[in-house]
Each structure stands twice: as C-alpha cells, then as structure tokens.
C-alpha cells in the first residue's frame, strides 16, 4: 500500500553543498532514504583531496575520505561563483526540500544564496548551516577547523594522559558530531513543515555540540572544579584500560555491584575485603594497591576470558580492539554491519552500514560515492530539461 515510502525519507530532495564539516549530514539523510545530490565545484570537492587514499595515491576518485562520507549521494558539478551557476542552483532549490551547507558564515550571502533568498524561491525550503561557531555571536567569523572546535568545545582538554598534551579525537569528531545534530534539526523542520508548509533555517554549531558532549559546563557550574585529563580512567578505580595476556581490556567499576562483582572475579583478594574498599573515594586514594592486584589478575588471562568472567558478574568489561579486530568480532560479524561495496576507483571493499534499524523503512546503501560529475547528465538533462547541446555549452563556459 505504501510502496512509495519504502524508506523513511523517500522522495525528499536534498542539495548538499558541504565539503568537510557537514558531509556526514547529507550521508545520514541519504541513508534514511532521501535523494541527496552533492554539488561540487568544477575541480571537485575539497573532500576528494583529503587522505587517506587507496594505496596512498592521491587522486579525485581515490580518496577514502570522500567515499566514506558521500556513499549514497548523487554528484553533480556546478560553479556557484558565476551568476549562471547561481541561477541553476536557484532552479534546483525551487524543486528541492533541503539545502545543507558548511561554508564560513556570510559566504552564502556573498553569492546571493542565503536563506532569505532561497526562501523567496521556495517557502518550504529547509536550509541547514553547519559551522564552527554558529551564525551569530561574537566568534561567528572565527576560522574553525575540526581541531579548533574540539579545543574550544572543551573535549580536548579532558582527552589524553595526565602528564601529556591534550589530544584531538580520530576521524574529525567535531565535524561528525555537529553534522548529526544538524540532521536532528533538519528532521524536526521537515516534520514542522508538514503542518505549516514553511521551511526554516537550522543553525548548528560545532562549538556547541562539542561543549555538550564534554559535559564540562554543568560540572564546573555544579562543583566549581575543572575536569582533568586522566587517560582512560573513568569513575572509581579500577575503571580504565588494563593490559592482559593477549592485549588489553576495559574494566569499569562505577556502581557498588560492579566493584563487588569484580572483586569476586579476582578471587576476593584478602587485601581488598575490608568494608572501606567499597567506597569509590577510598579506592581512588589507593590506586597503586588496586592496580597491582588487577594487573596481576589480568596479565595471566586473555581479553575474552576476562570479559566473560566479568560479564558473568555484571561488571562492565570489554576487550579493547583495533579497527581491524572489531569487524572480526563474532558478535559484529553476526550483526552483519559491514557490507560489500564496489566503487570504480576503490574497487571492492567492506563498508560500515548505517546504525539506524527501522523495521518498516530500513536504511539502504543504494549507490557508491559519485565520481566527479557522474550525475550531471541525469540531473541537468533528465530532471531539469537541458538539451545535451546546452549542457555542453554550460561546460564550455565553466558553469558545469
């Protein structure tokens, strides 16, 4: 009956102008079923020049970074710097639902394509602007890359070892996380539009998203204390990554039952049996005594042995994996979260499926990342009606 809606966002048209910070937003919408068209400048998106590359050989169709974040999107080229290109973009906007962009604040206005203009063409258009500091406020014009947002948002200061420098997270997490927040805003706006017919501007700031994830505002407000780096340690001791016979395990004893369970797993060592050890505060003052006993226990066992022993007692414990070991885990294999993909430049490879499982409208990976200009013909001729000759002329003029 609802064959037209096999995906949650079937039929929703998204124009994706992002190059870095917002790339995952378009991908997430595409995974949920939207028709997402990545619009690249003529020489190709900046993301095509981002490592890692297949066999470390740079090239527009060789960037794993580009492929990872653009799988499921279609791709066209368009020069937004010229008035003819801007005119074509406006035409696309008039027949689309969502525009996602991650330019510096003010850029869209400088090329005459900011939200008020787009709205005048299509009052239902939803525009998401994904930036380092947001569209307003005293820092809005500051330059922001991933590391800047990670630092300003407070995650960096609490990441790393006690005596080392703060360290940024892998895979551009300030970009990644704010893109997810923007999608939440876009979907909210889509729902609102059903009732009102009106689109709106979604203003997402990496600074705010990272600050939210860091939890430091509430910490300071409530305790007047400043969070410190402490490696992998969280909560009460033992609560970190420990070495074992064949690698490492991550053990936590946040709650009293975790501690009691773990003590049992260690064979109830006499040293730790006093009631005072039930207090997390006391344990944290006696790190060395606990660490010596924990390490003695872990070093004689494998990560899976330790994990199974702990889990049997309700103690949160997992093996520590590398990105190569994780896909090989029995559970992960059974869940089938890595799927086979094929890309003309990259070849065949395993690719991570989307994490949202919607029973009636499942996510699907429908296409690999677009080659540069791959869908020009399909979009310009097939959908907005240019003749092949006109397309060639636009190409000669450097518009497409």
């Amino acid at each position: 009956m609802n064959d037209a809606f096999t995906s949650a966002l079937s039929g929703i048209k998204v124009l994706d102008l992002t190059e870095e910070r917002g790339l995952y937003a378009g991908k997430m919408l595409a995974d949920l079923g939207a028709d997402v068209t990545l619009i690249e400048e003529i020489k190709g998106s900046k993301a095509r020049r981002a490592p890692p590359y297949r066999n470390d050989v740079p090239g527009p169709e060789n960037s794993l970074y580009f492929v990872n974040y653009n799988t499921n999107k279609r791709g066209i080229t368009l020069n937004l710097g010229c008035s003819e290109g801007q005119g074509i973009f406006k035409h696309l906007v008039s027949r689309s639902d969502v525009v996602v962009e991650d330019n510096e604040v003010g850029f869209m206005q400088s090329i005459g394509l900011d939200y008020p203009v787009l709205r005048s063409l299509n009052r239902g258009i939803i525009m998401a602007s994904i930036t380092g500091f947001g569209q307003t406020g005293p820092y809005r014009a500051f330059k922001a890359s991933d590391i800047v947002s990670f630092a300003m948002g407070g995650m960096m200061n609490i990441s790393g070892s006690k005596n080392g420098a703060p360290v940024v997270a892998p895979c551009e997490q300030s970009n990644h996380s704010v893109a997810i927040a923007a999608v939440f805003g876009i979907l909210t706006a889509l729902l609102t539009r059903i009732r009102t017919g009106e689109g709106q501007l979604v203003d997402a700031s990496a600074h705010e998203m990272v600050a939210t994830c860091a939890s430091e505002v509430m910490n300071y407000s409530n305790t007047s204390r400043i969070g410190q780096r402490n490696g992998s340690q969280f909560g009460s001791v033992p609560g970190r990554i420990y070495p074992c016979k064949d690698g490492h395990v991550h053990i936590l004893t946040v709650r009293p039952n975790h501690w009691q369970g773990f003590r049992e797993v260690m064979g109830n060592p006499a040293t730790l049996m006093g009631k005072e050890w039930d207090s997390g505060v006391f344990r944290n003052k006696n790190v060395d005594i606990i660490d010596a006993l924990v390490t003695e226990f872990t070093m004689s066992r494998t990560k899976m042995e330790i994990t199974e022993l702990c889990q049997a007692k309700g103690v949160p414990c997992t093996p520590v994996n590398t990105p190569a070991e994780f896909p090989d885990d029995a559970h992960i294999k059974q869940r089938g979260i890595f799927i086979e993909m094929k890309h003309p430049g990259i070849g065949c490879f395993s690719y991570l499926a989307p994490p949202y499982r919607l029973s009636r409208t499942p996510c699907s990976i429908r296409r690999s990342a677009p080659l540069l200009g791959q869908h020009n013909q399909e979009v310009y001729c097939g959908e907005i009606g240019y003749k092949p000759g006109e397309l060639a002329a636009l190409k000669d003029k450097g518009v497409i």
């Binding site: 609802n2 949650a8 966002l9 949920l32 490592p51 794993l64 492929v67 947001g134 809005r140 590391i147 630092a151 200061n157 609490i158 790393g160 940024v168 997270a169 892998p170 895979c171 990644h176 996380s177 939440f184 805003g185 979907l187 729902l191 979604v202 705010e208 994830c213 860091a214 430091e216 505002v217 509430m218 910490n219 407000s221 409530n222 400043i226 969070g227 780096r229 909560g235 070495p243 991550h250 946040v254 997390g280 344990r283 103690v315 949160p316 414990c317 997992t318 994996n321 070991e325 994780f326 896909p327 059974q334 869940r335 979260i337 890595f338 490879f349 991570l352 989307p354 919607l358 009636r360």
Partner: protein, 411 residues
C-alpha cells in the same frame, strides 16, 4: 508559537546518558516526554556528580526531592510518573499509557522488554501505529547480554585505540568520557524523527533499534575503510595533520594551559609570520613552504611553542583569529562556563537542580527559527506528574489510585 513536536507523547524508560539525552532532544522540540520511574530503581536519579567523588548515604537523603545533577542534565523538560514496572500491575498501567502515546523508548538491559511484554510486537497490538524504540548496548547476538558503559564501547570499536598521541600507551588513551553516549542519543533522536515522518505520511508505526555499539562504530567509518582497502591499522596520529604545518596543540603560559593553531596554506603562514612580528627563525628556508615545513615539524613546533608559552590560550586565539588564522584556546571547564560565544548564543540554561540550587547546563546544540522550546524546565522530581498522568490521561479515580499506591505499583 506551536512547538515542532507538540502533541507527540513519548514514554521514556531509559536511564544513564544515551537514552535520556535522546528523549531530552525530543523534549526540546516540544514532545511531551513522560518518564515512568520507581523508587525501586533510582538509577542516575540517585547518582552523585561523579561516582568517585562521594558515596551517597541513601538513608539520609530525602527520596522525594532527589534529583542528582547528572540526572537533571539529561532530563530537562520532562515529566515524571511513579510507576513500578517490575510489578505486573505496573506493566498493565503502562500499556494503558501506550494507548495514548506515540513513542515508547527504552535502553533497559537486554531481554527485559520482551520479558515484561513491552516489546514492539506486543505493543503494536495495543496501539497499531506505535513507534517502539530500543537502544541496546550491543543488540541481539553472541554478546547480547553484555553490560557496557559508553567508555567500554569506545574501546570495543577501536575508537580508543585511535585516540592518542603516536607514543601514548594503550592504557592512557582517551576513552574516559560519554562521547559515544551523546552520539548514540542524537542518532536515536533523529531515527525517531524519521519514523515519525514516515508515520505522518503513511499512518504506519514501526520498531526502531539503534545499538550503541553501532552508533559508536559509525564515528570510525574511515578507519575501517582504511583497514579494508589498504590493509593497515594506523597508529593514533595525535594532533598533527600530515597535510599541514604548523598544525598542532601548543603549550601556553601557566600550568596545563594549551592552544591549537592550524595553518592551511602559504597565505595563512604569511599572516602567522606577521602576527608573530616577523621572527628571524621564520625566514629560514626550511620553513619556506608547506613541504619543507612538514619535513621540519619538530623544530617548527618548538619555535611556535616558544611564542605561545609567552601568552595565555585566549591571547593566542585573539592575536591569530584577528588576522584570520584558525587558532583556539584549549578551553577547560571554567573557560566554557564563562564562554562569551556560548552565552551570546543562548546555549546556556540556568535551572534549579533538586536541592542543589541553580545549576548551568548545556542547552540544545542547534537552533531552529521556530518550533523549539525556548525556556527549559528543570528535571522533575520523582512522580511530579502523577496526578496529570493517572487522573487526566488515564482517568483513574482516587480509590483506584490508592490501591495502586498501597500495592507499591505507584512507588
């Protein structure tokens, strides 16, 4: 102003961080989020600030007003109803609530919702278009029963492995916070909206599952791809970027203060030289272009740090951002609290948190033109909305309510 999710009712049986954060996001857009909770299991409601900092003596705490700051943080704008789901009668009451709700969301231990008959297959018999959302740690499979916290999953997915300096030992890598929980929460909230959108167009409900391990793994897609395509596992790369120099975190004046500087091209480099008042060392041919700077990063970083060490982190940011270079203070908790930008954007929300008095929280990390809640409400005390739920929504009489209280169903 009509709120975006006005009229959407959510039954929230989540605890800890990921679940409550996802429903709080829905609440900030106007959904009515009701938390059935019970004194039998207080969970995060009864948690001290960080578990290590103090062990609460529950016998001395007034349970009726107990709202820990951590609980407050993730439960703003919600309603609370005292309902003991461990009792069969409690589950029957819950099912009556399902009839007048749109979404049920849980992150209970694996198997509990099925055991309690609160799974999608059962609930859709009660309400045909219900959206039932499960947020398991790992989901069905060999490790389905594992208990994990977000930090465990950073380690399990390979995220922790990749989060450090090249020489950081595994034990010291940065897997110490709730980052994965926030991501799973935000992703789940989005998946819920996608399901609502589908329901709005077709009238169909469905079952949504976001396993936290999979949400966490999605952050690391690029590393898995690098492994599958290039057959390698890169060691943690720290703060440097192989394309740019200078690009790093640098020590500033005073103990444990830091800044970051990112120079992306020659134009940036010339601006940096000017901002540093043309130091002699920067004229050396070994720093003349990106390629040569990348070959001499150790010396380059030392030179830059000689300069940053004479300034505070915010001074570095001010000097360099004034000329258009991407630079920032590595802000600590105190800096964030006094952050001009966050304050100017209305990101901060000051509210009462139980009997702790006013506490400042992060508000939503995105802003809509309309439809978003502008004035947040504090987290509810346990059972604050019992009257509304039992009398108004379910139409129970006082004697019926009294029996439920007596039988510790309302508890």
């Amino acid at each position: 102003m009509t709120l975006a999710l006005q009229g959407i009712r959510v039954l929230d049986i989540t605890d800890a961080v990921a679940g409550p954060f996802s429903t709080m996001m829905l609440a900030t857009m106007g959904a009515e989020v009701i938390r059935p909770e019970s004194r039998r299991h207080l969970g995060f409601r009864g948690n001290p600030q960080t578990p290590a900092e103090g062990d609460i003596d529950f016998s001395k705490v007034d349970m009726n007003t107990l709202v820990s700051p951590n609980f407050s943080r993730f439960n703003l704008n919600k309603l609370s109803v005292a309902l003991n789901l461990t009792k069969p009668e409690g589950r029957e009451v819950f099912k009556k609530l399902v009839k007048v709700s749109d979404i049920v969301i849980d992150n209970l231990s694996f198997g509990i919702v099925r055991k309690w008959g609160l799974d999608y297959d059962t609930l859709k018999q009660i309400k045909n278009d219900i959206i039932v959302v499960n947020m398991p740690s790992l989901g069905e499979g060999p490790h389905e029963e594992w208990t994990t916290w977000g930090m465990n999953l950073l380690s399990f997915t390979g995220f922790a492995y990749s989060w450090g300096h090249p020489d950081t030992i595994m034990e010291e890598r940065a897997a110490s916070h709730y980052y994965g929980d926030y991501i799973a929460g935000m992703m789940t909230a989005s998946a819920v909206l996608a399901a609502l959108f589908h329901r709005a167009r077709t009238g169909e409900g469905q079952n949504v599952e976001v396993a936290q391990v999979e949400a966490t793994a999605s952050l690391l897609g690029l590393s898995y791809m690098d492994y599958f395509v290039n057959n390698r596992v890169s060691p943690p790369k720290g703060n440097r970027d192989p394309r740019y120099a200078p690009y790093n975190c640098y020590r500033c004046k005073d103990d444990d203060r830091w800044c970051v500087i990112a120079v992306f091209n020659e134009d940036d480099w010339q601006k940096l030289r000017r901002a540093l008042e043309f130091p002699k060392w920067a004229e050396d041919p070994k720093f003349q272009n990106m390629e040569s700077r990348l070959k001499n990063t150790v010396e380059l970083d030392k030179r830059i740090e000689d300069w940053t060490k004479q300034h505070t982190p915010h001074q570095v940011m001010k000097i360099l951002q004034s000329v258009g270079i991407a630079a920032a203070a590595v802000q600590n908790g105190e800096n964030l609290y006094y952050d001009l930008q966050l304050r100017a954007r209305g990101h901060m929300v000051e509210l009462m948190a139980g009997n702790q008095g006013p506490v400042t929280f992060d508000g939503p990390p995105l802003h809509l033109n309309s439809g978003q809640v502008l004035k947040m409400e504090p987290a509810p005390i346990l059972g604050a909305q019992d009257n509304y739920v039992y009398k108004q929504l379910l139409g129970l009489s006082q004697p019926e309510i009294d029996i439920l209280i007596k039988n510790k169903v309302i508890f």
